[in-house]
């Protein structure tokens, strides 16, 4: 289950408005479909002069039509507004954004959950690398210039402590032997990602986020880990035969 305050804040607000719109629409629908029913043998008065071959009389009301153009529009503007702020958390800059700059050796992110926005703010972040290929994920806690295509990542000059980031393998029933990524709660990671063949996308189910992994360019994904737990990473961009069991374990520990 997703443990992202950002997600659930938005979701709850959207569900609330959905219920409002749904109750309004369905209430209206049920009322009219039981109230304005023709009874057997009734002679109706044909207010719009409906007759074959005659364009019937207009049935409109400018005020009402404008009203239900403007009111939904206001709701849309509001929903856009509340969806706008979390964009910062999704795409914040890697240079002094919500997650600061890359950590110095031994420095911790000290994640802080902003309960208003649901976003996680951190002092600094750690860069890790995720590589997809048909049909395995591979993780690298210490990417350096020797990495595939070695063009973007400068060597940070030290190796991450294994309690902050560690890579192993895990047997997951049904999926077989799969890679395991161990991260630390309270730390924020920036995953720099690439693919060796076709498009993949790691779905980090623990925090409800994903981003495509492409063969033609590097992509990035913020991983602010706050909750301890064991979860899975699946592939969510169709990549061929074994797409559905291309997976990995994710352990977040204290």
């Amino acid at each position: 289950m997703v443990a992202s305050t950002l997600f659930w804040n938005l979701f709850d607000e959207y569900v609330l408005w959905s219920l409002f719109v749904g109750l309004l629409t369905f209430g209206w629908l049920f009322h009219h479909s039981f109230w304005y029913v023709s009874s057997e043998g009734e002679k109706y008065d044909n207010p719009d002069k409906i007759e074959v071959g005659v364009f019937p009389r207009h049935n409109d009301d400018m005020k009402l039509e404008v009203a239900w153009t403007i009111l939904p529009f206001i709701l849309i503007v509001y929903l856009t507004y509340i969806s706008w702020a979390p964009l910062d958390a999704v795409w914040t800059s890697a240079d002094g954004g919500m997650h600061g700059d890359e950590c110095e050796e031994g420095q911790s992110s000290n994640n802080f959950l902003d309960s208003n926005s649901g976003a996680v703010v951190s002092e600094c972040y750690h860069i890790i690398e995720i590589t997809g290929k048909q049909w395995v994920w591979s993780f690298n806690c210490n990417p350096n210039e020797d990495a595939w295509r070695g063009d973007v990542l400068p060597d940070r000059g030290y190796e991450l402590a294994t309690d902050i980031c560690d890579v192993g393998t895990i047997a997951i029933e049904g999926y077989g032997m799969q890679p395991l990524l161990s991260l630390k709660a309270g730390e924020t990671y920036l995953a720099v990602m690439q693919s060796e063949d076709v498009t993949h996308a790691p779905w980090i189910q623990a925090i409800g986020t994903k981003e495509d992994v492409l063969p033609s360019q590097k992509t990035t994904l913020w991983l602010p880990m706050n909750e301890v737990g064991e979860s899975m990473i699946l592939c969510t961009e169709y990549c061929g035969d074994a797409h559905s069991i291309m997976s990995a374990g994710l352990f977040v520990h204290n």
């Binding site: 629409t25 009734e42 849309i76 076709v198 559905s244 997976s247």
Partner: protein, 775 residues
């Protein structure tokens, strides 16, 4: 003579082209190569095998586990090899699947699936290699060749006197994979069975039309008429039948998918089969079921509604239709041989051009190109017809709303489908002659496909839903005995949806690595879609106000549409909110949403259309009691089928996954334990929904055989189609006696052309006198 000669020459050219198209992808993708180690073996010492040599592989499992690493010991006994010889022996090992790798210097690797001994390694009779099992379900075959060497190579005698032998080992996949049948047997069996069924059906229908003249003399012109017809009503019927047929095929595939997903870790389908089923389910439902159903009604009703004798280009119309069955055959070709397209209906690059995608993908692409041609011709035809063939008295703003919806849909389709066509041609060239539009290693850009596809794909889903809006507008107004509320805002809302559809497609690419600026812009525009859609829903509701609603089956479907489409619209609002979409993207929440709008919207809309216009099309009424039964069973099972998918998506069920595993106390899975029960519930509902639609089929058959005769205007509609008899004559309206539309809004402001319209009309219509003056 000359004409015959030209014909035969073009026939030859056509035959060569078709042969080339069919052969090229087959040869280049022959799975084992023309000849390989599998047939010819290693560099074997001696011409024939020798029974005295016994090769062995130790360490192989009966059934492998996905991606597990096995250490194999390859050895042989017997033959002239005896300790003390200069050389003892050699081997060659080939595996059909998985990867072989080397652990020491005695073995070398030729290919990922092919290893042999090295110079150092020819002094022994046993070697160690490592085999990594495939990550997917494949039956694996391993072939081992061993040479038993007498060691006379040092004396210059080469390999004379050496002996060799080979063995073949089979390792089964975790899920039992059946040996694929001979594709030609499968294909020809299917063709023969379908052919026999088709002949029986056609003969029976012909018999029913006139039992007295059941002979070849009257059958031949009857069938020739159907095959060569250019009458919009007959082509409409053909479209309709094709659409219903493929709705059934797509439904059967959906049932296969649901059987596979009914319990966690199911092995009813292999991953490979599952991937083909969901690809073809999507392609079939969108392109071969929904589009032909819409075209069927558009063909039937647009000329009738605007008072035209036929479409503007009847022969182009026939061609549009006949491209479709051929395209369908191409799209399905791969399945008959077990290698159907497995790319998803979106066919994302670079997977679609990669070697791992199935051979059938090429044929799937070719079929889609034909559908693009068909849709383009249809677009030209309907735009022309609606623009120039409206009856006297019918201005743009007096067209029935169904005609408006077809106009908007075809305009969208006509403007968007070229992008898809271009993308498909590029993919076809990439796959067949090795261009590099989408090959990242050669500088191609995989994101280009996503852009081209969704620039088409998003308008396409609106092309499928907008005609349903038209149907619902007609049905609700007629059933409530009112004019549809806000006719003009309905038209503007549809046009608004048409315009907005072109600038929202980026929301399919929120996780694609596309520039965040573009994602942000499409987030804003996507939110906007709710406004015109909301206007339409509120207008439909207001139409019932102070009306006098008569409950017919088509009314029930229209009200059902209002519920399901509103639910689908509301769930659609969750996606443009980026932080939520990052979780929802490619999950079952998406599957739930688009089935709510495509089944609850388009299919329900067209079920409504069937009950509404069937009497007009056949002259027979449908049975209302069966209709209500169909509505109740289908509506309830439909909601049981798709509603729980929302929850599954939030829990973390991914789409396009052939199976899923639940978390238990012992094992980690991607879903909570309740998910298994809900999936079973969904699968049962899917079967109920599928079979409930047979009530509709039974109803139609019953009606055609012994239905009540339908009057010209059974429901009390106003537009021209209700003016003609049921079924209408051919031509639908005589050219010298076209109907004239009168208007009940004498002096209403809506009838005055606005300044913009007058200016536009000045541009469009060139007066005869002016034309002459111009010369």
């Amino acid at each position: 003579m000359m004409k015959n000669f030209i014909h035969s020459r073009s026939l030859v050219v056509m035959t060569i082209l078709i042969a080339a198209m069919v052969c090229t992808p087959l040869v280049s993708s022959f799975p084992t190569g023309i000849s390989g180690v599998k047939d010819s073996g290693c560099n074997c010492h001696g011409a024939t095998t020798s029974d005295s040599v016994t090769p062995m592989i130790v360490g192989l499992p009966e059934v492998y586990n996905y991606s597990e690493v096995y250490e194999l010991t390859v050895s042989f006994t017997g033959g002239p090899s005896t300790p003390g010889n200069i050389n003892l022996g050699g081997f060659h090992l080939w595996a059909s699947e998985g990867e072989l790798s080397v652990v020491d210097a005695t073995v070398q690797q030729y290919n990922p699936n092919e290893v042999g001994h090295t110079e150092v390694g020819n002094d022994q009779t046993s070697w160690t290699v490592v085999w990594t099992a495939p990550a997917t379900d494949r039956n694996v075959e391993m072939i081992l060749h061993t040479n038993s060497v007498n060691g006379n190579a040092g004396d210059g005698a080469g390999s004379s006197g050496d002996e060799w032998n080979k063995i073949t080992k089979k390792i089964n996949a975790p899920i039992l994979v059946l040996e694929s049948a001979n594709p030609y047997v499968v294909l020809s069996t299917l063709i023969i069975i379908s052919g026999i069924l088709l002949i029986i059906t056609i003969t029976y229908i012909f018999y029913r039309t006139n039992p007295d003249s059941f002979n070849w003399e009257s059958f031949e012109p009857w069938i020739a008429d159907w095959l060569t017809t250019t009458d919009h009503k007959k082509i409409g019927t053909l479209y309709f039948l094709a659409g219903m047929f493929f709705l059934g095929i797509g439904g059967i595939m959906a049932l296969m998918i649901r059987i596979q997903l009914s319990v966690p870790g199911n092995d009813f389908l292999t991953q490979d089969q599952y991937n083909q089923f969901f690809t073809l389910h999507g392609t079939t439902m969108i392109f071969l079921a929904a589009m032909p159903l819409i075209n069927g009604f558009a063909n039937w009703m647009v000329p009738l509604q605007i008072g035209a004798p036929d479409l503007a280009l009847p022969r182009i119309n026939a061609m549009s239709f006949w491209l479709q069955p051929v395209a369908a055959l191409l799209i399905f070709t791969g399945v008959f041989s077990g290698t159907g397209a497995d790319t998803g209906w979106t066919g994302y690059a670079p997977y679609i051009v990669s070697e791992t995608a199935h051979v059938g993908t090429t044929m799937w692409v070719a079929g889609q190109i034909m559908l693009v041609a068909s849709s383009t011709l249809t677009g030209v035809n309907f735009l022309t017809t609606i623009a120039v063939m409206r009856a006297p008295g019918m201005g743009w703003m007096q067209m029935p709303l169904f005609t408006w919806s077809i106009l908007v849909a075809n305009l969208m389709l006509f403007l968007s489908i070229p992008a898809f066509g271009v993308g498909l041609v590029q993919v076809y060239l990439d796959r067949v002659i090795g261009t590099a539009f989408y090959d990242a290693a050669s500088g191609g850009d995989p994101l280009l496909w996503s852009h081209l596809f969704w620039y088409f794909g998003h308008p396409e889903v609106y092309v499928v839903i907008v005609p349903a809006f038209g149907v619902i507008s007609e049905v609700i107004a007629t059933s409530a005995r009112r004019t549809v509320f806000g006719y003009r805002s309905m038209v503007y809302a549809m046009a608004g949806i048409g315009v907005v559809s072109f600038i929202v497609y980026g929301h399919h690419m929120f996780t694609s690595g596309m520039s965040p600026t573009l994602r942000f812009v499409t987030m804003l525009t996507t939110m906007l879609v709710a406004v015109p859609t909301g206007i339409k829903i509120f207008n439909w509701l207001k139409t019932m106000h102070k009306g006098s609603l008569i409950y017919r089956t088509h009314t029930l479907w229209a009200l059902g549409f209002l519920i399901t489409f509103t639910l689908g619209g509301i769930s659609g609002m969750f996606f443009p909110s980026m932080a939520m979409d990052l979780h929802f993207h490619e999950s079952y929440f998406v599957v739930a949403h688009f089935h709510y709008v495509l089944v609850g919207g388009t299919v329900f809309g067209f079920f409504s259309a069937i009950y509404y216009w069937f009497p007009k099309m056949t002259g027979r009424m449908l049975d209302e009691r069966l209709g209500v039964l169909h509505f109740l069973t289908a509506f309830i099972s439909y909601n049981g089928l798709f509603w729980p998918m929302h929850r599954l998506g939030i829990w973390g069920m991914a789409r396009r996954h052939h199976t899923y595993f639940i978390s238990t106390e012992e094992a980690m899975g991607s879903l909570p334990a309740e998910a298994a029960g809900w999936n079973m519930f969904i699968s049962i509902s899917a079967f109920l929904f599928f079979f409930s639609n047979f009530i509709l089929i039974a109803n139609m058959i019953k009606s055609v055989i012994r239905g009540q005769k339908a009057p010209a205007d059974p429901w009390g509609g106003w537009s021209f189609e209700w003016m003609t008899s049921s079924p209408p004559p051919t031509p639908s309206f005589p050219l010298d006696d076209l109907p004239t539309l009168r208007d009940a809004n004498e002096g209403h402001i809506a009838n005055e052309p606005s300044a913009i319209v007058r200016w536009f009309q000045g541009l469009m219509v060139l007066d005869d006198n002016e034309e002459e003056a111009g010369h």
